[in-house]
Subunit: 511 residues, 2 copies
């Protein structure tokens, strides 16, 4: 008996299964559902929760196997979760083959990092390439993120990681120079300066094609807020057209495939709540390089309940951003800003959009803190771009805003992106009042953000919170402190219950 | 408007859902399936893949939420995966409440370890308690296991971890002393000495209540092999009865709740393939302390494809086992053994059982390596127990085996456990032959184990492989090297294809 004959007589691959949409949302985790008693499960000896490679439609995805014994699934079917369905671009009925996940060579680099060895660019590149293709399981991603935390990635490795994250995705190149960009290291609710800054900078003739993210852990990302004012899901060709015409755009970065591994890493960093400095630097800078930016201003709010809590941490982060930026060809400038309390009044996509509009339209009651921050950032960018001499940026930015050129530019950008629109208003509102008289002693940014999320933000763009007091304000008992906005009464009640929970969102010091 | 009135008017808790069995096997990961448009999902603002706490039947479990839009699930239902269904001991139709997972206090200890801080007993205890209750997500377990790898747990922390793992589970206490135990640090296929060793030691009047595990990554655990010979799922009362009568037992440890956190940690260690020394020591010793053992002999096979690959690694591990053992009240002795090649001939539950029976029955063709290993271990245990003076253990063990007392004791133990039975034989077999003449130069334990698993072991107890040559044997071209056994032709073909894959399972050096 020859071995070849045996293998031919018993082909190892059973007949393919038929694709079926499971209509089960598992967020970004692809899952394939197969009957325990289907031929493939039996032949391959698949266990539940096994890592499998699902191939269909000329594509493949790494998925988790869930074994079904219910009747809704046929023995000749493979049902796919929404993430897997979209990844494979299925219609239904396609032939699906499922096999044991191939051993990933790049996992040895995860192990190497766990054992504290240094990773060079080729290792990072191989690993990040697999990450961006969805081949690395969440468990391995968690191990990698953990192994990089606590300062275990040095500067060379951070540069290698940043380069790798850029190199595995698309990269936009612009015909103008310099291409300006800004970024805010999150953690401060309502800090929605971007639309104002882009409008001012572009109105001054400086190119600023801004791609922003949707909310990850916050009640609103810039893309969520901007989407209540204009379409933001622009492909690269559309972005290019908008920027050619108006000198700037405010688009959702996720529509282009810029630094695709970043989203995968964030998927596990978020539940782990690990904000490793190196991962943060690589995440921010890789998106900027991929977006074709050359000079980046980073807004770094510092405060006890902001993402960066101490001046020392801010300085370390700023140094790292500068050095890694230089290594990947980015000129980076960091502006430490006050992170003690939220910016503006609204927290949530539409509520923040109203603040943005009020500043651009120079309303008498526009939030002054948002205006001042936007002007400071725009001024610094105008100086970095060489449009204003050092020291003259703020004045130019202020003139551009107050002269109405910024508003006109904003409207033009919105129209170029598909049309300016009116942000929605929530169906239900409740005021939260002070229980005692006194002085506003502290505002917990994190708990305030959580309350806005419980009210439905950013899923419901109209949901969120409006802050009615500032630090240091004197309030009477019964005076409104904030308003909660929600589309469903249950969500409103949930957010209210949270606000009245253990530790206060807004602390009133008795007089 | 008072706040209390608002909260009363909008109760935050929607009506409970009704429990339904999803009939979806997600291995040990509890999953709850809810309709996206059900009142609870909407009110709570649940996202897919959210960590939620599911309460029913007076119990609770941490689960992952998967949102369903298919018609098989009603809007008033919560369907549970098998793991969640069993954990909550449901029948169907019970009221189920689902809420956001409470913030786990103990996760701060995971973070502390990630940032390389030392954990004391109370921290370990709090964390391991949550782990054992299924409250810690796989991602956080992966972060913890990663943070402990690479030598980042010192000896105090390993002791603290071991104690914590014991203290959160059941603990058996025996009326006899000394209570002997053995353990093999895995990685060597076919090394199934336990049933022989227990039979010899118990036949000499020394108490040895052995609890063993099922396979985790190997083609057979001792419990899997023993189960082909007698029932092994014994509760503590039954184990006690068997041991009172026969002085020994060979039971599955998973039936008792000994060191329950261990299984949870293994669930993530396995896919991560992280064999941290500290985790290994805590895993092995916590099970022994919980099982009431006092003196433990550890069989430590060393070889290039065994779990422990170098003598240096073996010595480090032995020192750690001894020191941590002493700290938790265990007398530990480590026996380094040859880990170059598999032990005996069979690999897979029933095939290994035939080897065990051949040794006990003193068949002329019984595998001599298995016999010699079992005798050496039994001899050392008899000396540790004070039953033989130093140097006389091996002779006593040999006399007990050759005199038939070990076989008689084994049969008596099997009968006490519920009856001796005949191991099954596989429906399909194929011989793998040498493609060239030469000398057997190397046997890859890991790939051989994988071939046996692809053939169906341990799920099909009859499946696996029989090794027909030993290291150093001279073979002719076409001479059989091993036989693969499977219950399904597809699995046989799969295992064959693997054996004939890239790198050889058995390497033949040409003459």
């Amino acid at each position: 008996m020859t071995v070849a004959a045996v293998v031919q007589a018993n082909p190892a691959t059973p007949a393919p299964l038929r694709a079926r949409r499971a209509l089960i949302d598992t967020y970004q985790q692809p899952v394939v559902y197969m009957r325990s008693d289907c031929a493939v499960c039996r032949a391959e000896g698949f266990e539940a929760q096994a890592q499998v490679e699902v191939a269909a439609n000329g594509r493949e995805v790494l998925a988790i196997l869930h074994r079904v014994d219910a009747q809704w699934l046929g023995r000749d079917e493979a049902a796919l979760s929404e993430a897997a369905w979209e990844w494979l671009a299925l219609q239904g009925g396609e032939a699906v083959t499922v096999r044991h996940a191939p051993l990933l060579e790049s996992l040895k680099f995860v192990r190497a990092k766990v054992y504290d060895r240094k990773l060079d660019y080729p290792s990072m590149r191989a690993l990040i390439d697999d990450v961006s293709r969805g081949r690395v399981s969440d468990l391995h991603l968690a191990a990698f993120v953990t192994a990089c935390a606590g300062g275990r990635l040095d500067q060379d490795e951070t540069v290698a990681l940043t380069r790798a994250m850029v190199d595995v995705g698309e990269r936009i190149r612009w015909s103008h120079s310099p291409v300006m960009d800004k970024h805010c290291v999150g953690g401060l609710p309502g800090n929605r300066t971007t639309p104002i800054v882009v409008a001012i900078v572009a109105a001054c003739g400086v190119v600023m094609p801004k791609t922003s993210s949707r909310a990850i852990t916050s009640p609103a990302g810039t893309a969520d807020t901007m989407e209540t004012l204009a379409p933001v899901t622009l492909d690269i060709a559309t972005m290019r057209r908008v920027v050619e015409r108006e000198g700037g755009c405010i688009a959702w970065g996720g529509a282009a495939r810029l630094s695709p591994a970043d989203d995968m890493l964030i998927r596990v960093e978020r539940p782990l709540d690990l904000d490793s400095e190196a991962q943060l630097v690589a995440s921010v800078l890789s998106k900027k390089v991929a977006a074709g930016s050359e000079r980046v201003l980073i807004d770094l709010p510092v405060g006890p309940t902001a993402k960066v809590r101490s001046s020392a941490a801010a300085q370390s982060l700023a140094a790292s951003l500068g050095a890694v930026g230089a290594a990947v060809g980015l000129q980076v400038q960091v502006l430490q800003t006050d992170g003690l309390q939220p910016v503006g009044r609204g927290i949530g996509p539409a509520l923040e959009a109203f603040d943005v509009l009020a500043v651009l339209q120079r309303h008498a009651d526009a939030p002054q803190d948002l205006r001042q921050r936007a002007l400071a950032l725009a001024g610094a960018l105008l100086e970095m771009a060489g449009r204003a001499v050092p020291g003259a940026g703020l004045a130019l930015a202020t003139r551009t805003l107050d002269g109405g050129q910024a508003l006109a530019k904003f409207i033009a950008i919105c129209n170029a992106q598909g049309g300016l629109r009116e942000p929605p208003r929530a169906a239900h509102r409740e005021v939260v009042a002070a229980t005692i008289a006194g002085r506003v002693g502290a505002i917990d940014n994190r708990r305030l953000a959580r309350a806005a999320k419980l009210a439905g933000a950013p899923r419901d763009p109209a949901a969120g919170a409006t802050l009615l007091v500032r630090l240091g304000d004197t309030v009477a008992a019964g005076q409104p402190l904030l308003t909660l906005h929600a589309q469903a009464p249950g969500e409103l009640a949930y957010a209210l219950a949270f606000v009245h929970g253990q530790s206060p969102v807004i602390a009133i010091d008795p007089p």
